[in-house]
């Protein structure tokens, strides 16, 4: 009943190819956007901003990026942390070198710098495939983190090796630094995620996205029908790194404010969690990127609250429990639904079409 498409006719190609062809989806999405833009900014407090909303948005961005590369183009990458570090450090260098540049422009330029680095590290993918490539992308992870840790130019020769954000404003409201109000940082991330989320969705639906998927499904066959593997793989690497770079830039400038590269962009801190996001969310699904990010951001909070507050364990033991349960959930999830939350959602939609009168 709820998802009934009866009576909704598409009379031209435009409406047939819309992102949300169904009226129900259109309404739901508009409502979501209304709430996100017009309601949440007025009620958001610092806890929600720092613990849930901003990390969710930033990780969604990274998950979209990795999903483009791994989910749509089929190139497994474990180097997400490295590319996020590129975004963060180019933001820092740009901020300190050009103090007058608008923060939005800085973030986007950081994305482009990451894209260049991504192309460079994507080159081996033309020759190496599968798990060999996955391990090879670890080279970028370790090399980039090492580079930002060991070359003092990147952190402006500070003694601690930390990079710290300075205050930048958009329309007179600070969005970075300690003085930024919760709604400003939230809106800043939200705008970027919505704009680039739509961009990604449209890329996937157009020629470039179709060639990514052709390469993913069978690269030799794709090559034979005229999809150039070099160009396709490298654009996937570039665009994926662009998104990941922007998320790294936000992670540093808006979310953390100050960071140290080996700790914040470690393989266990970024690369694997983001990979879980897209697998738990659903490989090759935009919705999946968001669902996965939400799952991974919320899970530790829920677990921690449950362990420490309800059961009354000490923080250390709770941490160990958290790791165990986290791993267990992951395994259980992969066994029960290897195609992720997005698949669950489409099954639910299918059920909702006929609910409550199934035949």
């Amino acid at each position: 009943m709820i998802y009934k498409e009866t009576g909704q006719y598409n009379s031209n190609y435009r409406s047939d190819h819309a992102i949300f062809p169904l009226m129900q989806d259109k309404i739901a999405f508009s409502l979501l956007m209304l709430v996100a833009f017009l309601f949440v900014p007025f009620v958001v407090d610092s806890y929600w901003e720092k613990a849930i909303l901003v990390p969710f948005l930033i990780y969604s961005m990274a998950a979209i990026g990795l999903n483009i590369l791994t989910g749509y183009c089929g190139q497994v990458s474990l180097g997400t942390g490295g590319f996020m570090a590129v975004g963060a450090f180019s933001t820092y260098k740009l901020m300190t070198t050009y103090p007058d540049l608008n923060i939005m422009i800085i973030v986007i330029i950081s994305g482009f710098i990451s894209a260049l680095v991504g192309i460079l590290f994507g080159l081996p993918s033309l020759r190496i495939k599968g798990f060999y490539l996955a391990v090879a992308t670890l080279a970028s992870q370790f090399f980039l983190v090492w580079l930002f840790n060991k070359v003092p130019w990147f952190y402006n020769y500070s003694d601690t090796g930390q990079i710290t954000v300075s205050e930048r404003t958009m329309f007179g409201v600070p969005v970075t630094g300690a003085a930024a109000p919760p709604y400003a940082t939230y809106l800043f991330c939200l705008v970027l995620v919505v704009v680039f989320g739509f961009a990604a969705k449209n890329m996937i639906r157009s020629k470039i996205g179709r060639s990514w998927m052709a390469i993913r499904d069978m690269d030799i066959a794709a090559e034979i029908i005229g999809v150039p593997p070099l160009k396709t793989k490298l654009t996937a690497f570039a665009i994926s790194s662009f998104y990941i770079g922007i998320s790294g830039s936000l992670y540093f400038a808006v979310y953390l404010g100050a960071l140290e590269v080996t700790e914040s962009f470690d393989i266990m801190a970024i690369s694997f969690p983001v990979l879980f996001m897209i697998i738990i969310g659903g490989l090759g699904s935009m919705l999946g990127s968001f669902l996965g990010a939400a799952f991974i951001v919320l899970l530790p909070i829920v677990l921690k609250n449950f362990m420490v507050d309800l059961v009354g364990l000490s923080a250390v033991t709770a941490k160990h429990f958290e790791i165990t349960i986290w791993g267990l959930l992951m395994v259980v999830f992969l066994i029960v639904e290897p195609h992720g939350l997005a698949r669950l959602w489409s099954i639910a939609k299918e059920k909702l079409r006929r609910w409550p009168f199934p035949y």
């Binding site: 497994v76 081996p124 020759r127 190496i128 495939k129 599968g130 798990f131 060999y132 996955a134 391990v135 090879a136 670890l138 080279a139 370790f142 090399f143 983190v145 090492w146 060991k150 070359v151 069978m218 030799i220 066959a221 034979i224 393989i267 694997f272 990979l275 879980f276 697998i279 490989l283 059961v311 009354g312 364990l313 000490s314 250390v316 033991t317 160990h320 429990f321 958290e322 790791i323 165990t324 349960i325 986290w326 791993g327 267990l328 959930l329 992951m330 395994v331 992969l334 066994i335 290897p338």
Partner: protein, 334 residues
């Protein structure tokens, strides 16, 4: 001989021996990948878990004591004084076998025929579970592991080589850790035993059959699931050996599980499916790393390039041989 040459030889020797340590971890990966096509990321955590369990048995810790104490307000810690290392090793081996059985029962069985990446992610999940359980069972403090393997520099070698340099030059002899020598000896024994086992026993032949072709192996009556339990138990055993070696060297702690990351370049360099590849890859990476640290790292004056150098080395090799040195040739058909 000149001092430079002697230093070079010392570096190469040390590199070979640390390479053996990498090979030990890579070996566990290869065994599992060959038999079940699973890229087992948990191999490093296996080593950590085995080492933790070994120390726990050795010192007679009560498992889960922290958890029980916090939940029930008791004060459990040890239930018996230390036992002999040999006995503890036997207990640990039994634990690893049980663990392999549980993993097959609860995880692998349900994931047959899934995409390789799904299996890979499942082993990452497994790594988290084992890490958490290991910490819950035995506590997360750094533990000293001592099963009676000597360690420290070899004085004999130092004295023997001190006279090799030219008269009057400042040379104090070669430094080689005895532990590494032991690791080499044990690794050689292990690999020989493995080779003999897979060549001359019935189970060994079944193992090779499964590695060669799952379906054909099934059709001649080999039980895949038994073989899987067997292979995972064997990897658990190898992980224990690696855990003992690395744990003796630097204490049993979380960072032990990161040796998996050290073994990955070895793996792609040697090829996922080749046991000799794992050994030779390990040796190459060990030597390359040590040489690079001294001769290239010194050049830039930044240091710590061993974090990524191995990966770069493996990457360069891969550009010429995409399946690794000894991997099966990748044949792609449409």
């Amino acid at each position: 001989m000149s001092v430079e040459l002697l230093n070079f030889i010392e570096t190469v020797l040390n590199g070979l021996m640390s390479g053996i340590m990498y090979s030990l971890v890579a070996l566990g990966f290869v065994l599992i990948f060959k038999a079940s096509g699973v890229f087992n990321f948990a191999q490093g955590v296996f080593a950590l878990f085995a080492a933790l369990t070994l120390v726990g048995f050795q010192t007679g810790q009560v498992p889960f004591s922290h958890l029980i104490n916090e939940l029930f307000g008791t004060k459990l810690h040890h239930w018996y004084p230390e036992i002999h290392s040999f006995l503890a090793i036997i207990f640990t081996i039994i634990t690893m076998i049980v663990l392999a059985w549980i993993i097959e029962r609860l995880v692998l069985k349900h994931l047959v025929n899934q995409e390789p990446i799904i299996l890979f992610m499942a082993t990452i999940g497994l790594a988290f579970v084992l890490e958490g359980i290991g910490d819950l069972m035995w506590g997360s403090d750094v533990k000293v592991l001592d099963v009676g393997i000597p360690s420290g520099g070899s004085e004999w070698l130092e004295n023997a080589t001190i006279g090799l340099a030219a008269e009057g030059s400042e040379y104090y002899g070669m430094y080689i850790d005895v532990l590494n020598v032991w690791a080499t000896v044990i690794a050689v024994i292990l690999v020989t035993a493995l080779a003999l086992f897979s060549q001359y026993t019935k189970t060994g032949r079944a193992l090779r059959a499964v590695a060669d072709d799952h379906q054909a192996a099934l059709s001649v009556g080999i039980s895949l699931r038994t073989i899987w339990v067997f292979v995972w138990a064997m990897s658990g055993f190898i992980a224990m050996v690696a855990g003992i070696m690395w744990g003796t060297e630097s204490g049993v702690q979380f960072s032990l599980s990161l040796i998996a990351l050290k073994a990955l370049p070895v793996l792609i360099l040697g090829g996922f499916t080749s046991i000799p590849g794992a050994i030779i890859g390990g040796l190459l990476i060990g030597v390359g790393e040590k040489l690079a640290e001294i001769y290239i790292g010194g050049l830039f004056d930044i240091g710590a390039i061993e974090n990524w150098f191995a990966y770069f080395m493996a990457l360069v090799f891969l550009l010429f041989r995409p399946q690794g040195l000894f991997g099966e040739k990748i044949i792609e058909r449409v």
